[in-house]
C-alpha cells in the first residue's frame, strides 16, 4: 500500500534548541498544515504571543496541555508528512534531562536522527547524552542540525567550530552517516529552501539529507527469525505458528529450527488471508504450517536451521533504566524479548557509562536515566542475536513484577558462555534421599518483620521445639550472617537485595541437605522475598510475618538501634528512613504486639503440621 518508501526519524535536542519549531517548519513547508489547523495555529500564536507577531510553529507539536503551559515537550509525539520523494514519520523527543527514557522510546523505531544544537550555545551535555543514546539504540544515520544561525548572524566560523567539536566527540560512536549543517528553523533557511543568508555553505539542505538517507533496514538480508506470537488451531487438522518475520526470508520447503529446543522441521505452507505464499520476507505477518509435529508455543523463536541465534540464559547487555526506583542486581524482573516473557535478574552491574565523557565507572545499581553494562541472568534459556548483528532479535524490555511498569530497556552485546559451558553436575544422592535419612521433609521457615518485632526470639523457640522432637534444623539469622558471609554488604537497597539473595541461596543448599531452615531476616522488600520463594521448590517456602507495629518495636528497641537511627547515626534503617513492604499473603501472620512468643511458636509448629511437614513423623522414631 505504501508506494513511496518511508523514513522514520527522530529529532532531539535541548529544551530551547527549537525542535518543535523545526518540525512545525517541516510540516509547514511541506504544505502539510491543513487550513483549519492553520487557522487554529494563527489564533493560538496571537493568544500566547510566544513568537511575537510571527507564527509559533512549536504550537503545532505540543499536544498536551501541561507541556503547552510549561513550554516544554514531555513525551514523544509522532508526526507524518510526505514530499514528492518519500514519506516521513518524525518522532519529536524531549530535550528535558529527566525524560531520557522517552528519547530512547522515540529512538527505538527510528532509522535516522536529527540532533539539534543551538548555534549560540554549542554542544551541551544533553547533545552528548542524546548522541550516545542514538548510537546505543543502533541508529546509524545522524544529522547534526546547527540551528538558530540567524541569531549568530549566519557566521560560518560559529558553524565550523561546533561542527569540528561534534565530529571529534562523535568519532567513537560509529555512525555510518554523519552530516552537519547550518539551519534556521525560524526563518526556514537550509530546511527546504537554501535561502540566501549562508552563501558560504554548499552542502545539502536538511530536506536533501532526509530524502537521501537509506531508509528501512537490511533485515531481509539477515538469517530468518520469527518469534511465535500465537499458535493458530481453529480445528484439530490445522496447526499454524503465527508471527511477524523479524528478519530474513523464508520459502516453502526451508528447514527451520525452534531456537531453544533445537527441534527441526520443514515449512509446508505459508498461510495468509489472501492465499498461500511461496516466500515471506522480513516485516510480513504470516502463519506457518510445518511438516512435523513440533513443540513451539508462544514465545519460542523459529529460525533458519542452518544459521541459528544464541539460545542461553545469561548474556551481557547495555541497559537504560527508565524508572524512579533503581535497578537492583538480584531482584527479579520480567523480561520481554521477542514474544517471550521470562523472569530475569541482573546478576551484576559491570559499570555505568557517563554519557558526557563515555567514561565507565563502577556501579552496583542503575538509577533513572542511567545506562550501564550488565550481566543478565534469565530463569531459562532465551533466543537472541547480539543487537549489533540483528536489531530485531537483540533487544528486550524489563517489567516490574508488582506495578507492571516498564522499568528498563536493553540491547544485547553477547552471550555469556560461562553459563552454557558450566553444566550442572548430576547428583546421585539427592534432596529426597538426604531428607529420608533424617526422616523429615525439608523446608524454609522465613521470618520477616521489622527490627525488634520478635523474629529471632520466635525462630529460636521454634527451633528448640523442633530440636526436642528430633528434627534436624539450622538457623540463618540476618544479624549473625552479617558478621561472616555478608560482612562485605551494607544497608543500601542494592546491598539488601544481595544480602537476601545470598541467604536464600544458602537456605536452598540447606534444604538440599534435608534440613528445616529457619531464616530470621528483616527482608523488607516483597520482590526479594518472592525471589527467595521462587528459588525453592513448591511448598518449601513458608513465609511467617511477625507483624509488630513500628512504635512497639521502637519502644522495645532491644539493641538500641532505633535510638541511633532516629539520632541519624544509622542511615537506611528499616522503619525509620527505609520502607518495609508487608507481605500480602504470608503463610502465617503473627501479631507481634499481642501474641506471647510461646503461643506464636506453637502456631508455627501447627503450620508445619498443617502443611504436611510433620506427616512423616510416624516413620521416624
Amino acid at each position: 500500500m505504501i508506494e513511496k518508501d518511508l523514513l522514520r526519524f527522530l529529532t532531539c535536542g535541548s529544551v530551547d534548541d527549537g525542535k518543535s519549531t523545526l518540525i512545525g517548519r517541516l510540516l509547514w513547508d511541506a504544505k502539510l498544515i491543513f487550513d483549519d489547523q492553520r487557522q487554529t495555529l494563527e489564533a493560538e500564536s496571537r493568544r500566547l504571543g510566544t513568537a511575537g507577531a510571527e507564527i509559533d510553529f512549536a504550537l503545532l507539536l505540543d499536544g498536551l496541555q501541561a507541556e503547552r503551559e510549561q513550554g516544554i515537550t514531555i513525551d514523544v509525539a509522532y508526526r507524518f508528512f510526505a514530499t514528492e520523494k518519500r514519506k516521513f514519520i518524525v518522532a519529536d523527543t524531549p530535550g528535558h534531562e529527566q525524560y531520557t527514557r522517552n528519547m530512547a522510546t522515540g529512538a527505538s523505531t527510528a532509522d535516522a536522527a536529527v540532533i539539534l544544537v543551538d548555534a549560540r550555545k554549542g554542544l551541551l551535555p544533553q547533545t552528548r547524552r542524546h548522541s550516545f543514546i542514538v548510537s546505543l539504540m543502533g541508529i546509524r544515520h545522524v544529522i547534526l542540525a546547527i540551528n538558530k544561525m540567524d541569531a549568530v548572524d549566519y557566521d560560518e566560523g560559529v558553524f565550523a567550530a561546533i561542527r569540528d567539536d561534534y565530529m571529534a566527540f562523535a568519532a567513537p560512536l560509529g555512525f555510518a552517516g554523519l552530516a552537519c549543517l547550518p539551519i534556521s528553523a525560524l526563518r526556514g533557511d537550509m530546511v527546504y529552501r537554501r535561502g540566501d543568508s549562508m552563501p558560504w555553505y554548499d552542502g545539502p539542505t536538511l530536506m536533501n539529507c532526509l530524502e537521501e538517507i537509506q531508509s528501512g533496514s537490511d533485515a531481509a538480508l539477515l538469517p530468518f527469525r520469527m518469534p511465535v506470537q500465537w499458535v493458530c488451531r481453529p480445528d484439530a487438522d490445522f496447526r499454524g505458528y503465527c508471527g511477524s518475520v523479524e528478519s530474513g526470508r523464508l520459502h516453502v520447503g526451508d528447514r527451520v529450527a525452534v531456537a531453544n529446543s533445537g527441534q527441526i522441521s520443514t515449512v509446508r505452507r505459508i498461510v495468509t488471508f489472501d492465499g498461500d505464499l511461496q516466500e515471506a520476507v522480513a516485516g510480513e505477518a504470516v502463519n506457518l504450517v510445518l511438516a512435523d509435529e513440533i513443540d513451539a508455543s508462544r514465545g519460542e523463536m523459529l529460525a533458519a536451521a542452518d544459521d541459528r541465534p544464541d539460545s542461553c540464559d545469561q548474556f551481557m547487555a547495555k541497559i537504560i533504566w527508565m524508572h524512579a526506583a533503581p535497578l537492583l542486581p538480584g531482584r527479579k524482573y520480567l523480561m520481554k524479548i521477542g514474544a517471550d516473557l521470562v523472569p530475569t535478574q541482573v546478576s551484576e552491574v559491570k559499570y555505568k557509562v557517563n554519557v558526557n565523557t563515555f567514561e565507565e565507572t563502577a556501579a552496583r545499581s542503575l538509577a533513572l536515566n542511567e545506562i550501564g553494562a550488565c550481566n543478565v541472568a534469565a530463569d531459562r534459556a532465551v533466543a537472541f542475536d547480539p543487537y549489533g548483528k540483528n536489531r530485531g532479535t537483540g533487544r528486550f524490555i524489563l517489567v516490574d513484577r508488582y506495578s507492571n511498569a516498564t522499568v528498563g530497556a536493553g540491547v544485547i552485546e553477547h552471550a555469556l558462555r560461562r553459563a552454557t559451558n558450566v553444566h550442572r553436575q548430576k547428583e546421585s544422592v539427592d534432596k529426597a534421599a538426604r531428607a529420608a535419612i533424617k526422616g523429615q521433609k525439608p523446608c524454609v521457615l522465613w521470618f520477616t518483620g521489622l527490627s525488634g518485632s520478635g523474629k529471632s526470639t520466635l525462630a529460636d523457640l521454634v527451633e528448640r521445639a523442633l530440636h526436642a522432637q528430633g528434627r534436624h534444623t539450622v538457623i540463618l539469622d540476618g544479624d549473625n550472617l552479617r558478621h561472616g558471609l555478608n560482612r562485605d554488604l551494607g544497608f543500601t537497597d542494592a546491598d539488601r537485595v544481595e544480602n537476601i539473595r545470598r541467604v536464600a541461596e544458602v537456605a536452598k543448599l540447606f534444604v538440599e541437605a534435608g534440613l528445616i531452615v529457619l531464616v530470621s531476616l528483616i527482608s523488607p522488600f516483597r520482590a526479594d522475598r518472592r525471589m527467595a520463594r521462587e528459588l525453592l521448590g513448591k511448598g518449601e517456602f513458608l513465609e511467617i510475618f511477625v507483624d509488630t507495629p513500628v512504635d512497639i518495636c521502637r519502644a522495645r528497641d532491644p539493641k538500641g538501634l532505633y535510638a541511633k537511627a532516629l539520632a541519624g547515626e544509622i542511615p537506611n534503617f528499616t522503619g525509620v528512613q527505609a520502607p518495609y513492604e508487608p507481605p500480602e499473603a504470608p503463610e502465617l501472620r503473627i501479631d507481634g504486639a499481642s501474641t506471647e512468643p510461646e503461643v506464636g511458636a506453637s502456631r508455627v509448629l501447627a503450620l508445619l503440621e498443617a502443611q504436611g511437614f510433620e506427616a512423616d513423623s510416624a516413620s521416624m522414631a
Binding site: 499536544g63 509522532y78 506470537q229 488451531r233 481453529p234 516498564t406
Partner: protein, 283 residues
C-alpha cells in the same frame, strides 16, 4: 492484534462502523486466518448514528459472522440526553464516554482495540500503541509506559485495562489507500451522493431523520455530499464532493487542505478538548 489475543483474557474490538473500524475488522480477519478473530466486536450506540451506519453494521455482522455486542447507555437514554438540547459536550460524555465505560465494566474487558491514529489530533500524536488505563479508565499522559521497538508491555493488574491502537502510525490517506487496495466494504455515506442537508455553524448536517429540529430560516437543500468521518449525524459535517468511487476519494484526499476532524463538532468545544476527554476515558 495477535499479541493482544495471546496476552489478555478478555479482549474486545471497538467497532464504530467508520472506515477505520472497517480496516480494523479486515485486519482482524487477516491476523487470525484461518481461525476467526478470537474476540467480540463492541459498538457503543449513541442512538444518534446515521441510519445507514446501523444497517451496514448489521449487514457486516451477518456476512462475516463475528460476535457483535451493542451497548447503549440506558440511563442516558432515559434522561433523554440529546445533542440538540444538551449540547455536543454532554451528549458525547454521557452517550459515548460513559457508555463505553459501562460496557467495558459490564463485560470485564481487559483490552480494547481502537482505530485511533496519531495523525488525527495533537493529543493522539502522543498516545502509545498499548495505552494503559487505570481501574476507572483514566489515561495519565504524564505517566505513560515507555514503548520501545515492537516490544509491548501487556502486563496489567486486575481491574486495569489496556487500549490498543494498531493503526497508530497510519495516516488518513494510508487508510483510504488500503481500503482501495484490499477492496474493504465501507458505509455508503463515504461516497458522494445527493442528500438532504442543512447548513449550520458552517457545517453541512445531514437530515437523517425527523429528530433534527430545523432552526428558523433553515431549509433542507439537496446537495452532492459525502463524509470524511462518521459519528453522530447531528455532530458530523458533510463535505461537498463529487467523489463517488474509491479512486476518486483517494485522489480527493491527496488534494485535501483541511483535516478530517474539522467535521467533528466535539473537538472544537474548547481548546485541548480531546485531551480532556481522553483523560476521562473517551477513546
Amino acid at each position: 492484534m495477535r499479541e493482544v489475543a495471546a496476552s489478555f483474557e478478555n479482549p474486545v474490538m471497538l467497532y464504530s462502523i467508520g472506515k477505520d473500524s472497517s480496516v480494523m475488522l479486515h485486519l482482524a480477519r487477516k491476523a487470525f486466518f484461518p481461525a476467526p478473530p478470537p474476540f467480540p466486536f463492541l459498538h457503543v450506540d449513541t442512538t444518534w448514528k446515521f441510519k445507514e451506519m446501523i444497517a451496514f453494521r448489521d449487514r457486516m455482522a451477518a456476512e462475516y459472522g463475528f460476535k457483535l455486542l451493542v451497548h447503549v447507555n440506558q440511563d442516558g437514554l432515559k434522561r433523554g440526553i440529546n445533542p440538540f438540547v444538551h449540547g455536543s459536550a454532554l451528549h458525547t460524555d454521557v452517550m459515548k464516554t460513559e457508555a463505553l465505560k459501562q460496557a467495558l465494566d459490564r463485560y470485564k474487558f481487559d483490552a480494547a482495540f481502537g482505530g485511533a491514529r496519531r495523525d488525527e489530533e495533537k493529543s493522539r500524536a502522543k498516545e502509545r500503541v498499548f495505552s494503559f488505563r487505570s481501574a476507572n479508565h483514566r489515561w495519565d499522559p504524564k505517566n505513560q509506559r515507555p514503548e520501545l521497538w515492537n516490544l509491548y508491555n501487556t502486563r496489567i493488574n486486575p481491574g486495569e485495562s489496556i487500549r490498543v491502537f494498531p493503526l497508530s502510525n497510519w495516516t488518513e490517506l494510508d487508510v483510504w489507500q488500503y481500503i482501495l487496495q484490499e477492496e474493504i466494504p465501507i458505509v455508503p455515506l463515504y461516497f458522494a451522493a445527493v442528500r438532504p442537508v442543512v447548513e449550520r455553524n458552517g457545517m453541512l448536517i445531514l437530515v437523517d431523520d425527523d429528530r433534527l429540529p430545523l432552526l428558523p430560516g433553515e431549509k433542507p437543500m439537496m446537495k452532492k455530499v459525502r463524509f470524511r468521518t462518521l459519528g453522530c449525524y447531528p455532530l458530523t459535517g458533510a463535505i461537498e464532493s463529487d467523489a463517488a468511487t474509491l479512486p476518486e476519494i483517494v485522489a480527493e484526499m491527496e488534494r485535501a487542505r483541511t483535516s478530517e476532524r474539522q467535521g467533528r463538532l466535539i473537538d472544537h468545544d474548547q481548546a485541548g478538548s480531546m485531551e480532556k476527554k481522553k483523560q476521562e476515558g473517551y477513546f
